[in-house]
């Protein structure tokens, strides 16, 4: 176990600088690599551009002439064929005014120019799948303007499709469409080797901390990285476009899945490799690398034990989790995600421009959520503890039966019991009001005011949640030895005093993890609020999680805003956990 090598101030400065340089280099060059791969798609489009432009121009002029009905179709056709080249298919369609005044979706359509002479001036053929594609494309152009895109079905042969409107006297009379013949996708850059290379160089930087000649290693890794990316750069012609922010691009291409966007880039290799390499190299260059390697070797048994869970969690929990965190920085509309930075968070945290008392204001909802969580946890613990105290008496008969029966609220699916409770709180027909009538209290309209709706939710959730606390307390209570109580009895302590000074402190270690988990679960308790009060009245009993859900699924599919909400929930809960940890040291095991 050797100490890290002695470092002079100059050495440390050099180390930090080289670490920062390496980090910057990794970021920059990986960004370039990823970006350049993206640009291959653009390049594909660019390569076709001249031919496409010519073909479109021809189609345009042909359509304009046809519109004035002075075209010589054969001459036009021959020129289209000659100039469009052997590899493109050129067409122009006419989409006329609705033929039928009854149905706005029926239109006459025919070709004005077509690279296949047979089709010239013919109507589009209903049985021809290619014709339908062109017709739909013409519609899209009519509604959304010019279209240029790559069609790459599952990385198969790529066709470039371009379409633009043809105007005569300012009115659109036709659409000029060019579709190229399928050709293989030109991808000289593969992300996996680059990702592996980046990672390897990062590891190298990590190890550098051990060596005396670490500056040589730094230079070597820098040189390696440069060579790697020079290879990338040298395969391409030009480098004009602006560099996209990497995480947002990678995330966006992952999010959009199969939506028709210019080539989805499998960016996972780089998205994973980059932060890892960055972290490792920086650690290495501030001297922690050596310690980490030693720690790794010393604790390899521990890491081996954690590995299965970690791998599973990484793939199926952390990746989606990362997605969820990242999603908060995007805006979602109809399947396309756009990077909007912090605007979602600003919108939420500024209250959305609504006053503090408005139910849709974030702080109002936050207040309701905190109140909800606090009262629930309090009631759960109180009732659970009381029941546990009653049921812990070893001489009590039928303990087992009581326990099983009292656990039923937990066992029956809560989506049906929540609806039953909602029915019980009905103003006119509900069971609760009937009971109150018998007691002489007049009917309460449970869901028309905040306090009563909140109370209804509270009762329902307490009913659902106390079994868990009861069982936790039972277990904890049963492990407190009787002789402690007997000793207190002998000393003359009252039952309340022995409860306060013996039971409670001894219960704390068992209770606190359960309370923390219970708090987290209650904070995010969606089902009850949504099913019982449904936010009534006017959305005031909604908690943060139901607000987020409504934004995502009921108000314009704003997944980005909902994800931002979720991220804020996470931060709040995290702060709460850290705070209580500090206060109670509950996560520290008691046997170290």
């Amino acid at each position: 176990m050797s100490a890290p090598p002695e470092r002079s101030r100059r050495g440390r400065a050099l180390g930090t600088a080289s670490g920062a340089l390496l980090a910057g280099a990794i970021i920059g060059l990986t960004a370039a690599a990823l970006y350049l791969r993206t640009r291959n798609a653009g390049d594909q489009l660019q390569a076709e551009a001249p031919a496409r432009a010519m073909a479109l121009a021809l189609a345009r002029s042909g359509a304009q002439r046809s519109a004035h009905d002075t075209a010589d179709p054969d001459l036009l056709q021959r020129r289209v064929l000659a100039l469009a080249g052997r590899d493109t298919v050129t067409l122009a369609t006419v989409v006329q005014e609705p033929r039928s005044t009854k149905y706005r979706f029926l239109r006459k359509r025919r070709y004005l120019a077509h690279s296949d002479v047979q089709r010239l001036r013919q109507s589009l053929d209903r049985r021809h799948p290619g014709d339908k594609q062109l017709y739909d494309l013409a519609n899209r152009v009519r509604q959304h303007g010019p279209v240029v895109e790559l069609r790459a079905p599952q990385d198969g042969p790529v066709t470039v499709v371009a379409a633009e409107p043809v105007r005569v006297d300012g009115k659109q009379v036709a659409t000029a469409i060019v579709v190229t013949a399928p050709r293989p996708l030109h991808v000289p850059v593969n992300a996996w080797p680059i990702g592996a290379g980046v990672l390897a160089l990062g590891l190298l930087g990590l190890m550098a901390g051990r060596l005396r000649q670490r500056y040589i290693v730094v230079m070597a890794s820098l040189a390696g990285l440069t060579a790697l990316c020079w290879y990338q750069l040298s395969t391409l012609a030009a480098f004009y476009h602006r560099v996209l922010p990497i995480p947002s691009y990678a995330l966006r291409s992952a999010l959009q899945g199969g939506s028709p966007a210019p080539l989805t880039i499998p960016a996972w290799p780089l998205v994973i490799a980059l932060p890892l390499a960055l972290g490792l190299a920086t650690l290495g260059h501030v001297g922690l690398g050596q310690r980490m390697v030693q720690a790794l070797r010393r604790h390899r048994a521990a890491y081996l034990y954690v590995l299965p869970a970690a791998v599973g969690m990484l793939l199926l929990v952390f990746l989606p989790f990362g997605y969820g965190l990242g999603l908060g920085f995007f805006n979602h509309a109809h399947g396309t995600y756009t990077f909007v930075g912090l605007s979602n968070f600003i919108e939420i945290l500024s209250g959305g421009g609504r006053p503090l008392s408005h139910p849709l204001n974030f702080y109002f909802t936050l207040g309701v959520t905190v109140l909800w969580t606090g009262t629930n946890v309090l009631l759960h613990v109180a009732i659970g503890l009381a029941l546990a105290l009653v049921l812990k008496d070893p001489l009590l008969r039928f303990k087992g039966i009581y326990r099983v029966l009292l656990i039923l609220p937990w066992a029956v699916p809560n989506y049906i019991t929540a609806l039953i409770w909602k029915g019980m709180f009905h103003h006119q027909y509900g069971a609760v009001n009937h009971v109150l009538e018998l007691c002489g209290i007049e009917n309460i309209s449970w869901f028309s005011s905040f306090s009563t709706a909140f109370a209804a939710n509270l009762v329902t959730n307490t009913w659902l949640g106390f079994p868990f606390m009861m069982v936790v307390c039972l277990g904890a209570l049963q492990s407190i030895p009787r002789d402690v109580y007997e000793a207190a009895d002998v000393d003359g302590a009252s039952r309340w005093q022995s409860f306060l000074h013996i039971t409670l402190p001894l219960l704390r270690p068992a209770l606190f993890p359960a309370i923390i988990l219970g708090t987290i679960w209650t904070f995010n308790m969606f089902n009850i609020i949504y099913l019982v009060s449904a936010g009534a009245p006017g959305g005031s009993t909604d908690i943060l999680i139901t607000e987020a859900y409504r934004w995502a699924f009921e108000r314009a599919d704003r997944y980005g805003l909902a994800a931002a909400y979720a991220l804020i929930i996470l931060v709040i809960l995290l702060l709460y956990t850290l705070l209580t940890n500090r206060l109670t040291r509950a996560t520290e095991d008691t046997y170290s």
Partner: protein
């Protein structure tokens, strides 16, 4: 020979011929059986020529999210049956395929105009209608022999049958939801979007409609407090509600042995003379944009919405089908309840399937809630709803059009 795009596509479609067409639906009970029979007939008749249809029933509340998650990632169905209210969203997201290319005027004439019009968005047609749904007036024949034809009659009859202490009411419907409040809104001359597509939620007509609804549902009205669709069915079934406003789905839940149920079109609004027009929803058979056998799928769509199959569905499942020929069939005409829904269609308003419309439901429902529990006046509630919806509309990306 240089391969053209068309040739390649043709090649793809023949190669993919053997795979069955997957059709997702959210039907239960009798409707599901009727659909299965129709699919059986297709499968028998299509041996060798067309691919078979494979059905999958998906629970209703998971359906739209499942479609939106599955289709863009290539795991979705080829066809699916769902209400038309998301057509705009799905069209904008390029999840469903426009099919008007294959439609002739004669083909379109087969369907009731409103039903097929509901499936249009942006001048393209996105599906063929299987059935239509709207609310209508259910009445208990034992309590009300003749249904009301104007709202004044409705209120009078309702008052006659309302005994609050006994828990009996004249009318029951979920008055916290815009979907059920719409008849009054349109009956009083109100609207949600005007002809130019501007938001007109806060207008005097809409306020009048809301005030009328408040009179019906207020503390001395004819509707029980906190109504819901569940309560509607329960009270009507137990005979505690003389009338109800609900749609064809309630039919399967009524115990016909206990209650003599009748259905009539909603009455005319006395003040304006206009009929109370409910929202019309069309259940459409839509084509996924990722389908690999689009022409075969379209043939299947044509078959499932053909007249013969429609009549079978109407007879077996009492589905208000969207084919004209079905309504000319005497067997279907003999069913009084189906005929009532057919008559209601004439005055029903097609629910807009645009993305903008989807933003309206939540704030409007909240306005209704506030008015019904007395915490806001109709005017204030609608003004707040208008502001809220405006803010959602402006947050929407400008690329989405009507």
């Amino acid at each position: 020979m240089r391969p053209t795009v068309a040739a390649l596509l043709l090649l793809c479609s023949t190669v993919a011929h053997a795979r069955p067409l997957v059709l997702w639906h959210a039907y239960r009970a009798a409707e599901r059986t009727a659909l299965e029979h129709a699919v059986d007939r297709w499968n028998q008749g299509s041996r060798g020529k067309d691919p078979e249809i494979q059905l999958l029933a998906v629970p209703y509340d998971a359906f739209p999210d499942k479609i939106t998650a599955a289709i863009p990632r290539g795991h979705g169905p080829d066809l699916f049956i769902f209400a038309h209210d998301r057509v705009g969203d799905w069209a904008e997201s390029r999840i469903i395929e426009p099919i008007e290319f294959w439609i002739t005027e004669k083909h379109a004439d087969r369907f009731l105009f409103k039903a097929i019009d509901a499936l249009c968005y942006g001048d393209s047609l996105y599906g063929l209608p299987m059935a239509f749904k709207s609310t209508a007036l259910y009445y208990n024949k034992a309590l009300i022999p003749v249904p009301p034809t104007t709202t004044d009659e409705l209120v009078a009859l309702g008052r006659k049958h309302t005994h609050r202490e006994q828990g009996r009411f004249g009318l029951v419907y979920d008055n916290n939801k815009l979907y059920f409040h719409a008849p009054w809104l349109f009956g009083f001359g109100g609207a949600i979007f005007d002809a130019k597509g501007r938001l007109v939620v806060h207008t005097p007509e809409a306020t009048a409609a809301l005030a009328f609804a408040r009179r019906l549902g207020g503390p001395d009205g004819i509707i029980p407090p906190e109504p819901s669709t569940t309560l509607t069915t329960t009270l009507f079934n137990q005979g505690k509600a003389a009338m109800a406003i609900s749609g064809p789905w309630m039919l399967g839940e009524i115990d016909q042995k206990q209650i003599q149920v009748g259905v009539a079109p909603l009455p005319r609004v006395s003040r304006t003379g206009k009929p109370a027009s409910p929202f019309l929803g069309a259940e459409g058979l839509m084509l996924s944009s990722r389908c690999k056998q689009k022409s075969a799928a379209f043939r299947a769509m044509t078959f499932l919405t053909s007249d013969a199959v429609a009549i079978a569905r109407a007879m077996e499942a009492r589905q208000p089908v969207a084919n004209q020929a079905a309504w000319d069939d005497p067997r279907v005409q003999r069913d009084p309840i189906l005929s009532a829904f057919r008559r209601q269609l004439d005055t029903a308003q097609v629910m807009p399937g645009t993305p903008q419309m989807r933003l309206v439901w939540s704030p409007y429902d909240m306005a209704l809630q506030k008015v019904m529990n007395g915490s806001a006046t109709p005017d204030r509630a609608l003004a707040e709803a208008q502001t809220e919806i405006r803010s959602y509309l402006s947050a929407m990306r400008p690329g989405a059009r009507k």
